[in-house]
């Protein structure tokens, strides 16, 4: 098993890679610092139209007047991200060129999670510019031969992705579904982007969302037309080669009237990302009778036992049920990052619309999470469900923070909240901050909460049946999370199971 120290070492190594790489392709980096030039540079690099550049600049102007909020509950003090020290546009970082260059311990972790060799290569970014281009060409329908100059190992990995990518692109196009990067969408579908970008999370919404609006690098765009059920689950996994740009992701998903889509974010595997700050924005728009299901498994670098290193995961995710009977469901499994700070929310504007939030957040080592949701009831008969499972181990601190807001118009609205925490060991913490704001007398809100320790008698019962203590622990924790895992697509649920087991290794005894 990769110890945290080893992971730290790998991350450190890769950081050095980055610096060694800058001189070679200097022109691909924006000079560090946040100012108008940076924003214009990014926008120009992406070939964006003027309206997009203006939007970014408006955001920047607003951001300069903002202060980082200080209400988050993080018992361990963290150094604030150095926003002037970041380079806001970076060419793909140097990836290892073959598996031989990769730390065997990291490979072992992947193997434990049951990730195939080709997937592993793709995840580690073992590929160079040529095949990545090939993927892009293939996707845009121009076709391409096998990139000849590249290494065999990279070609294999890319071939896998190419074949998958093209078959599914065709199927999606037949259904009329648009699934592309947000940069492509800005160029090719400006009318949709103009209409919806910032419509759920305005650029001035909050500190990090505002920063994202100014400097967002890339992300996904999905549009599902009226009365269309997206023929497959969409996943960023297929675009993994084009990643490395994910520091300020921007995702926009629109389900038009009567449409339905399920989107899986991020990793089907542990992404070890060395970026310190992740400030992403995800916007979901569900029109009348539309349904969006958004699932996340997040396993970024958590830092070491003493809380050194690790990702700041400061993300704004929000969906709006624009029309009647619209339905938005968030499911998240958060096991990585040094600090997780996010509240995937649903604004239920349409009558009879529905919002759901299912969450498992695990903090171990010295990780901290302040996460939960906001359910804003505006329409009549709107219903929301919140199921939050917090697991604290090591010296981790896990906070659930949730807002249930019933506006005056929310006649007969209903919320159910269930919020459970489990503690493993005696140096961790679980905290709950539920806010309930009801302005309509016919609206109802239920809240159930529990905090338990992994019971010794449960562990003994399992081990007395021959199950090792570590397996017993993961069995118990998975049982605790069952209601959330059952919301995940099948293969994601299996993965979530394994991920928890790996994350909790060494937490016993």
């Amino acid at each position: 098993m990769t110890t945290t120290a080893e992971v730290a070492a790998i991350t450190e190594e890769r950081r050095e890679y980055k610096y060694g790489w800058t001189t070679d392709i200097e022109q691909e980096f924006a000079p560090p610092g946040l100012n108008e030039d940076t924003v214009r540079f990014i926008s120009a690099k992406k070939g964006e139209p003027a309206w997009m550049t203006d939007w970014r600049l408006k955001a920047l102007k607003h951001f300069e007047k903002m202060d980082e909020p200080d209400w988050v509950f993080l018992p361990y003090v963290y150094p604030p991200p150095d926003l002037q020290g970041i380079s806001y546009y970076a060419a793909p970082k140097k990836a290892p060129e073959s598996l031989d260059e990769v730390d065997p311990a990291l490979l072992e972790t992947y193997e434990k999670l049951g990730i195939s060799l080709s997937e592993t290569k793709a995840l580690l970014g073992i590929t160079d510019a040529a095949p990545a281009q090939a993927v892009a060409e293939e996707q845009s329908g121009e076709g391409s031969d096998a990139p000849s100059g590249s290494r065999q190992v990279a070609v294999d990995a890319v071939f896998d992705s190419v074949s998958v990518a093209t078959t599914f692109q065709k199927e999606l196009a037949d259904a009329g579904v648009i699934f592309c990067s947000i940069s492509e969408a800005i160029r090719n579908h400006p009318e949709l982007v103009k209409k919806y970008l910032g419509s759920v999370v305005p650029y001035a919404d909050n500190y990090y969302a505002c920063l994202n609006s100014a400097v967002f690098s890339d992300g996904s765009f999905v549009y599902v037309p009226k009365n269309t059920r997206c023929p497959m689950e969409l996943s960023t996994y297929f675009r993994i080669n084009a990643r490395n740009t994910g520091q300020f992701e921007r995702t926009l998903i629109i389900a038009d009237e009567g449409a339905e889509v399920s989107y899986l974010e991020g990793c089907t595997a542990p992404q070890r990302d060395e970026n310190q700050l992740h400030a992403a924005v995800v916007e979901l728009v569900a029109e009348k009778d539309a349904k969006i299901k958004y699932s996340t498994i997040q396993n970024w670098y958590p830092g070491d036992e003493d809380g050194k290193g690790g990702i700041y995961n400061f993300v704004t995710k929000r969906g709006i049920c624009n029309g009647d009977r619209a339905h938005i469901s968030w499911t998240q499994v958060e096991t990585g990052s040094a600090i997780t700070w996010k509240y995937p929310s649903v604004v239920m504007k349409g009558d009879d619309s529905k919002g759901e939030f299912y969450s498992v957040a695990l903090t171990t080592l010295k990780q901290q999470a302040d996460t939960g949701t906001k359910m804003i009831h505006i329409g009549k008969n709107t219903t929301s469900t919140i199921v939050s499972k917090g697991i604290s181990a090591g010296r981790g601190h896990n906070t659930y923070r949730g807002l249930v807001e019933m506006r005056k118009t929310a006649k007969d609205a209903h919320n159910f909240t269930q919020c459970d925490s489990i503690l493993i060991g005696d140096q961790c913490g679980a905290h709950t901050f539920p806010y309930v704001d009801v302005r309509n007398t016919t609206a109802t809100a239920e809240h159930e909460a529990s905090t338990t320790k992994i019971a010794e008698d449960q562990l003994f019962y399992c081990t007395a049946r021959g199950i090792s203590e570590e397996d017993a622990m993961s069995l118990l924790v998975n049982g605790f999370c069952k209601e959330v895992f059952s919301e995940l697509p099948m293969e994601f649920a299996v993965e979530a199971n394994k991920l928890l087991a790996v994350s909790l290794e060494g937490s016993v005894g």
Partner: protein
């Protein structure tokens, strides 16, 4: 010469958290394959402690003596290693495990044992077949396996599920810790039939009980009386009958024995 299934010699046990409290003061017990033994004793005599120590519970410290299972000293082994070697403890109070189905739980247990034995893990189809066979043998409704472990089980269901687990795991020594407590006659009969269906020349049982009611259904070869951490009398099944007449009074304890 046959190796004893279980061979306990001069076992002294005290509480780990409170070393001043010694619970077992030198227990000797030998169970040969095929034998059914019963340990009877009043409340607080150390019966349940003995059961937990045999299964490897960590709250106790062995200060003297040894426990050998099939000729191997298991004193230093963890509970999982003992279970995988073929020792089974049927709990007095089976524990609920929310969110974990009985099927999932047993799958983990069966495959842990197989891996410990150097065998391949069973796949889903093989496991289901195995579970079905044992469910029939122990008279357990197969539907029970779809429920979460012990969650919402009645007292009788819990005890039946314990015996079922022993059958599924194929353990050679079953230690039944007050399995009869809280059972009505019908439940007791079903549980006993399950145990009797497993009796064979290879299997041994240690029945820990307060009352002799259970022993009318599962007839022991040997009965031992444990009082204040020591075995004070051993004999055949007649010992249990005598005890019913006299109670624990001859051993200085005033507590009824009858059901």
């Amino acid at each position: 010469m046959t190796t004893p299934l279980l061979d306990i010699k001069n076992l002294h046990v005290r509480l780990e958290d409170d070393p001043a409290v010694e619970i077992l003061h030198g227990v000797d017990l030998r169970i040969m394959p095929g034998e059914v033994h019963s340990i009877m004793g009043p409340n607080g005599s150390g019966k349940s402690t003995l059961a937990q120590v045999l299964a490897g519970k960590e709250d106790y410290e062995i200060t003297e003596g040894t426990i050998a299972f099939q000729g191997e000293d298991i004193t230093e082994l963890g509970p999982d290693e003992r279970a995988n070697a073929g020792l089974f403890l049927a709990f007095q109070y089976p524990v609920e495990i929310p969110g974990v189905s009985a099927m999932q739980f047993l799958k983990a247990a069966v495959n842990a044992k197989r891996v410990a034995e150097g065998k391949d893990e069973l796949d889903a189809a093989q496991l289901l077949k195995h579970f079905r066979e044992k469910a029939t043998q122990i008279n357990v409704p197969y539907e029970m396996l779809k429920r979460n472990v012990n969650e919402g089980f009645s007292g009788g269901e819990k005890k039946r599920f314990e015996i079922f687990q022993m059958a599924v795991l194929g353990s050679v020594l079953g230690i039944l810790d007050e399995t009869d407590s809280g059972l009505d006659i019908d439940a007791l009969r079903i549980v006993s039939e399950g145990v009797n269906s497993m009796r064979s020349a290879d299997h041994g049982f240690l029945l820990i009980t307060h009352y002799n009611r259970l022993l009318e259904y599962i007839v022991p070869d040997h009965v031992h009386i444990l009082v204040k951490g020591k075995i004070v009398k051993s004999g055949g099944k007649e010992v249990a009958h005598e005890l019913e007449q006299t109670g624990y009074a001859p051993f200085g304890v005033h507590e009824p024995v009858g059901a």
